[in-house]
Point group: C2
Chain length 299, copies 2
């Protein structure tokens, strides 16, 4: 009945992915997988998600080998969520095939001890499901929320309702512009006006912007020459962010450090397909890039 | 016969500009105008360019009031270069009308004392004209080069020839990708391989990347909520860069500072139409934003 440091709710799936660097079939993907791996370098993680009967034991083992608690992972009759996509040379994804499988009827239920968690990350699922998770959580300290353009377009009101209940929103630049117009500085400030403690706009290769009550920070991306597979970059980023925060607590200085660590984890994530690079990553390699990142931006 | 600290060669024109913030007619523009103003906050500037008989005395006075030497500015029979353009909400420009006027036959000739200048900025003109200027310069310490997508597309070989002769290349992200492919980190390294001391990739709202022999730095943009007119942002940036460098000399630390100052000047440039905001800018306002910029990126 150990309470994890961080609980993450999201999707787990199998991906067929094609990039200019090659093609991989049936690799482990989904927002939850990337986020859980990202967080696992910093803290004890519990995951809440669903997979089908086809889910491979080796992938369950992958989670366990990283110390990730899978008590909240349901195995249902049917197939695991499946996504087939291709990225162009500018890293823009195109969905070629999608099969929701058991994810279609996913209704996240937190194991009893997870309800007492202090740090919760709601990775990309529908605002309705995110709200359902919020109704189960007892006394959280920090809730981080992610979303996708789809929910901004199709479920704006429900999404805004969820956003107002969380502490930190992480979205990418395209989503921020969809929410509050083209100027990212204005968009970030508008998010803060909703009552959040922090908003992070993820800009991929351009790094990220952090907005707090009356401050703005800019943290660069760790420079990567070969982006083999951008899938899950934002998820591993957000996972690392909350994982680090759970160990040091929320404040301005820690947020900046957390984003720098998040950038580092995302940089490893995109250097190989799926979770291949995160699987064997060491804390030493993380610290090396973290120190380099600090140096890159020091004026 | 005083030698300026910095000589800048480029275009001067009249612009009709429309953005989502409004429309302005016949305002002072051109790469040379924005660059000269940007540099003038840091050093003694001499300009080399051409205007027509229609060029307004008040605009000559504008240069003189900022201490900019106009000895290299030719006034020819005909009209001043004219550009009419509109920006969409994403700050993408569209040329609606263009009339080269006297700029069509521009052949830059340096006044005798300018040939001894130590810091030269070749703003956007054709590679052929840039080469012609290089043939006149006697013993420069630092040459900064800018260019446009047009020359990469239409005069690649001539442009590459010029690039190899300079010390610092400043280009925007779109141009960098045109030159060396989609990955900006690779593109920057490729430029350095040509033998340059530094390459700066300007990314607008996303700040800029600095590449040196074996180092990469990332300097954020100063956050601006209301981008009234993006015209000349990159030119004022490059002008400020070389202006600052001319006072402190070229090295790694000074380059980072120079880019931070350049970002600050560009941030003022885009907050109003044409040079309206730079006209009355004080050194105190510049220093304030410079210190804020350092803070924005400190982890």
């Amino acid at each position: 009945m150990e309470i994890p440091d961080v609980v993450i709710v999201g999707s787990i799936g199998y991906d067929d992915i094609e990039t200019i660097y090659g093609k991989k079939e049936r690799v482990l993907g989904g927002s939850l997988s990337h986020a859980a791996f990202g967080a696992s370098f910093f803290c004890k993680v519990g995951i809440v998600g669903v997979v089908g009967r086809d889910f491979d034991q080796q992938h369950l083992d992958l989670f366990k080998n990283r110390g990730i608690c899978t008590k909240g992972l349901k195995i249902e009759n049917g197939n695991t969520f499946y996504w087939c996509g291709a990225y162009d040379e500018f890293n823009n994804p195109k969905t070629l095939k999608i099969d929701l499988g058991v994810f279609q009827n996913f209704r996240p239920e937190l194991p009893e001890e997870y309800k007492k968690v202090k740090y919760l990350f709601l990775a990309n699922i529908s605002p309705e499901l995110q709200n359902h998770v919020l109704s189960q959580i007892e006394n959280p300290e920090i809730i981080v929320l992610d979303t996708r353009a789809r929910w901004i377009n199709e479920r704006r009101d429900e999404l805004m309702d969820v956003i107002k209940k969380v502490d930190i929103l992480t979205i990418n630049d395209e989503e921020a512009r969809l929410l509050f117009g083209n100027n990212l500085i204005k968009a970030g400030k508008e998010i803060i006006k909703l009552g959040l403690s922090a908003a992070i706009i993820k800009k991929g290769e351009h790094g990220s912007l952090l907005f707090m009550k009356d401050k703005i920070f800019s943290i660069p991306a760790y420079p990567i020459e070969n982006v083999k597979d951008p899938t899950g970059a934002g998820d591993s980023f957000a996972g690392a962010l909350i994982g680090f925060l759970s160990q040091v607590g929320f404040n301005e200085e820690n947020m900046k450090k957390a984003i720098a660590y998040a950038s580092v984890i995302a940089s490893f994530n995109i250097e190989d397909f799926s979770l291949d690079n995160l699987k064997n990553l060491t804390r030493e390699e993380i610290e090396k890039r973290y120190n380099e990142l600090k140096e890159i931006t020091r004026i």
